[in-house]
C-alpha cells in the first residue's frame, strides 16, 4: 500500500484526472496549494506601472493511496498527463502507508481501498 503525492500545474488538473480514470484510479484527494520557488519574472503581472512577480506559485496537490499493484500505472498516468517539459511541471512522491480502514464498515487493509464490485 503506497501513498502517491503529486504536485502538478493547476492547468493540468483535468487531464491528470482523466488519465487516472483511464488507468482505473477513481479515488483521490486534491487541494489547492501554494509554494515558493525560483519562478522567472516574465513581466506578466503589472500594477500601476510596476512589473512584479507574485512570489508565490499556485499548484494542485493530489494525494492518491493505492494498492502496490497499482503504483506504477498511477505514476505513469500522472507523469504522462502532467508533463509539458517546461520548468515547473511539479513532483511526484511515493511513500509507504502502514494501514488503512474504511470508516463505513471498519474494513481493513487493501480491500478498504477499492469497491468490491470492481
Amino acid at each position: 500500500m503506497k501513498k502517491i503525492e503529486a504536485i502538478i500545474r493547476t492547468s493540468k488538473f483535468s487531464e491528470v484526472q482523466t488519465a487516472l480514470r483511464e488507468a482505473g484510479i477513481d479515488f483521490f484527494t486534491y487541494a489547492d496549494v501554494t509554494g515558493v520557488g525560483n519562478e522567472i519574472n516574465k513581466g506578466e503581472h503589472t500594477y500601476r506601472g510596476t512589473i512584479y512577480d507574485t512570489s508565490y506559485i499556485p499548484r494542485q496537490l493530489l494525494t492518491i493511496v493505492v494498492r502496490d499493484i497499482n503504483v506504477q500505472k498511477t505514476v505513469d498516468a500522472v507523469l504522462k498527463a502532467a508533463q509539458t517539459g517546461v520548468v515547473g511541471d511539479g513532483k511526484i512522491f511515493v511513500s509507504t502507508i502502514d494501514d488503512s480502514y474504511r470508516i463505513r464498515n471498519g474494513e481493513k487493509g487493501d480491500t478498504s481501498l477499492y469497491n468490491k464490485e470492481d
Binding site: T34, G43, H45, T46, Y47, R48, G49, T50, I51, Y52, T54, S55, Y56
Partner: protein
C-alpha cells in the same frame, strides 16, 4: 357568474367616477394645453396683470436655478459612492472594511463640521446670492488691511445656519456641503491601509469645519484671492469654476501631507529603495466607481453655474466629457506603449479622473478643442506624477490621489489661465468682460491663477501638517505593524469585509528585499 357581474359593475362605477373627475377639463395627453395663463398666480384667475406676469416670470427663473442647484447637489453627493468604490477596489481585501468605512463616515463627519462652522467660515461674507434670488444676509467677512487693500480672510456669519433662515442659503449650503465632502474623502485614498480610524475620525471633523472652508472663502466666498482682479488688476482674480483648486488641489495636498506623515505601507519599498506592487483586490469595483464619478462630474462642473438658466452649462458639460475621454485614452496609451506594455486598468481610471479634475476649473471658460488638449496633457501628467511621487519622493499613495487631485488640480487652474477664451465670465468677481487666458491675450489672469495655486499649496500643507501632527499627539496616526500585517478589518473595525472567504494574507503584502 355572480362574480363576473360584480366585476362589470365595479368597472362601470370606476369609469363613471373617472369621467366625473375629469369632466371639467379635457385630458391632455401631449401637454399642449397644460400650463396656461390660468396657472399664473393672479388676483383674477386666468387674467393676470403685467406685474403679475413679471412676478411669475421672476419666480420661475429662480425656480429653475433652485432646482438645478439642488438636483446637481444631490448627484454630487453620490460621488461619495464613486470614491469609496475606487479606493476600496484599489486596496487590499484584508483592509476593505476599514477603507470603505472611512469613505462612508467621512460623509456625516465632514457634514457636521461644515454645519457647525465650515459654512459660516466659507460663505459668511459672500454677499448677495445672485442666481438664487439675491438674498444678501451672508454679509460678514473678516478682513485685514494691507497697503490700502482689504484682504478678506474668513466669513463669520451662519454658524449652525443660524440667522440665515432663507431658502437660497439652504440650497447653497447643500450644494457646497457635498463639494466639501469630495475634498474630505480624497486623503482617505492616499492614507488607506495604515491610518488609525480614531485619527481619521478627528480629521473628518476638522477638514469640514476649518481646513477646506478657509481656502474656499478666499476663492468662492468673496475672500482675497477672488479680489485680485479688483485690487491689483489681475484678470478676474483667481477663478475656479467648479473647484480644481478649492476642492481637488486642497484634497490632493492633504493627501500628500497625510501620506508623507504616515509613511509607506509595510512591504511597499525594498531596502534598495525600489517599489513593490501591492495590487488592489477588486479592479472591477474600482472601474464601476470611476464610472459613477464620471457621471456625477457632469453635476459637479455644470452644476457649479448655480443657475439652470445659464445656458453655458451645456458648454461646461461637453468640455467635461471630452476632457475625461482624452485623459483616459492618453493615460492608457502612454502605459501601453511607453511604460509597462499593458493598458493597466487602474491607470486608465487615474487618467479619466485626471482629465475630469483638470477640466473642473476651466470647463466653462475654454473651447472644446482646448478641453481636449487639457485632458490629453492631464492623462500623461497623472502617470508621470504618480511615478514621481512613488519612485522619487518615496511617498506611498495606494490610489494615486496626489497625482490625480493634487497635480491635476494645480494644472487645471493654470490651464484656465492659459486657455480661457474670453467669451464667458462677464461680471465675475466684479470685473467686466470675459475671463481671458494668456493665449488669448491676458497674462494677468494667469498670474492670478498661479497665486491661487501657490497660496493653496502653502496654506493647506501648513495647516494639514499641523492638524495631522496634533492628532498624532492626541491619538496617534498609524496603526501598529502587527495590525497592519493582519489587516485592519478586525483590529480597527471589528468585522472582516469578506467574512467566511479564505484569503492569503501573506501574499497580499510583498516581502521587502
Amino acid at each position: 357568474m355572480k362574480k363576473y357581474l360584480v366585476l362589470i359593475l365595479l368597472m362601470l362605477v370606476t369609469a363613471t367616477a373617472t369621467s366625473y373627475i375629469y369632466a371639467e377639463k379635457a385630458p391632455d395627453p401631449i401637454g399642449a394645453t397644460t400650463g396656461t395663463s390660468s396657472d399664473v398666480t393672479a388676483a383674477t384667475a386666468g387674467k393676470p396683470t403685467l406685474d403679475e406676469v413679471a412676478a411669475q416670470a421672476g419666480h420661475n427663473k429662480i425656480a429653475i436655478n433652485m432646482v438645478w442647484v439642488l438636483v446637481t447637489g444631490f448627484i454630487v453627493m453620490f460621488m461619495q459612492f464613486g470614491f469609496a468604490a475606487v479606493e476600496g477596489g484599489m486596496t487590499r481585501a484584508k483592509n476593505a472594511s476599514h477603507t470603505f468605512a472611512m469613505n462612508f463616515l467621512i460623509y456625516p463627519l465632514g457634514m457636521i463640521g461644515f454645519f457647525i462652522c465650515g459654512f459660516a467660515f466659507m460663505f459668511g461674507g459672500v454677499g448677495a446670492l445672485g442666481t438664487l434670488g439675491g438674498y444678501d444676509g451672508l454679509n460678514q467677512e473678516f478682513t485685514i488691511n494691507i497697503a490700502g487693500h482689504a484682504f478678506g480672510l474668513i466669513g463669520t456669519k451662519g454658524f449652525f445656519l443660524n440667522g440665515v433662515y432663507d431658502v437660497s442659503v439652504f440650497a447653497l449650503f447643500l450644494f457646497q456641503m457635498v463639494f466639501m465632502d469630495t475634498t474630505a474623502t480624497i486623503p482617505t485614498g492616499s492614507m488607506a491601509e495604515r491610518w488609525k480610524y480614531s485619527s481619521f475620525f478627528i480629521y473628518g471633523i476638522l477638514v469640514g469645519s476649518i481646513i477646506y472652508p478657509i481656502y474656499g472663502n478666499w476663492v468662492w466666498g468673496g475672500g482675497w484671492l477672488s479680489q485680485l482682479g479688483n485690487m491689483f488688476g489681475l484678470g478676474h482674480g483667481h477663478v475656479d469654476f467648479a473647484g480644481s483648486s478649492v476642492v481637488h488641489l486642497t484634497g490632493g495636498v492633504l493627501a500628500f501631507v497625510g501620506a508623507k506623515i504616515l509613511g509607506p505601507r509595510l512591504g511597499k519599498y525594498n531596502k534598495d529603495g525600489s517599489a513593490n506592487a501591492i495590487p488592489g483586490h477588486n479592479i472591477p469595483l474600482a472601474i464601476l466607481g470611476a464610472f459613477v464619478l464620471a457621471f456625477c462630474w457632469f453635476s459637479f462642473n455644470a452644476g457649479s453655474s448655480l443657475a439652470g438658466g445659464d445656458f453655458r452649462i451645456s458648454i461646461a458639460a461637453v468640455n467635461t466629457m471630452i476632457a475625461s475621454a482624452t485623459g483616459a485614452l492618453a493615460s492608457t496609451l502612454y502605459m501601453w506603449f511607453f511604460k509597462t506594455k499593458k493598458p493597466d486598468p487602474t491607470m486608465m481610471i487615474n487618467g479619466l479622473l485626471a482629465g475630469l479634475v483638470a477640466i473642473t476649473a476651466p470647463c466653462a471658460f475654454v473651447t472644446v478643442g482646448s478641453a481636449a488638449l487639457i485632458g490629453l496633457i492631464s492623462g500623461i501628467l497623472v502617470i508621470e506624477a504618480a511615478f514621481f511621487v512613488e519612485l522619487k519622493l518615496k511617498i506611498d499613495d495606494p490610489v494615486g490621489a496626489v497625482a490625480v487631485h493634487g497635480v491635476n488640480g494645480a494644472f487645471g487652474c493654470i490651464a484656465l489661465g492659459l486657455f480661457a477664451d474670453g467669451t464667458y465670465g462677464d461680471g465675475l468677481n466684479g470685473i467686466k468682460g470675459g475671463v481671458t487666458g494668456l493665449f488669448y491675450g491676458d497674462g494677468g489672469q494667469l498670474a492670478a491663477q498661479l497665486i491661487g495655486v501657490a497660496s493653496n499649496i502653502i496654506y493647506v500643507s501648513i495647516i494639514g501638517w499641523v492638524v495631522f501632527k496634533l492628532i498624532d499627539l492626541a491619538v496617534g496616526n498609524r496603526v501598529s505593524a502587527e495590525d497592519e500585517l493582519r489587516g485592519l478589518d478586525i483590529p480597527e473595525m471589528g468585522v472582516e469585509a469578506y467574512s467566511g472567504v479564505k484569503m492569503d494574507k501573506n501574499s497580499e503584502t510583498p516581502l521587502s528585499r
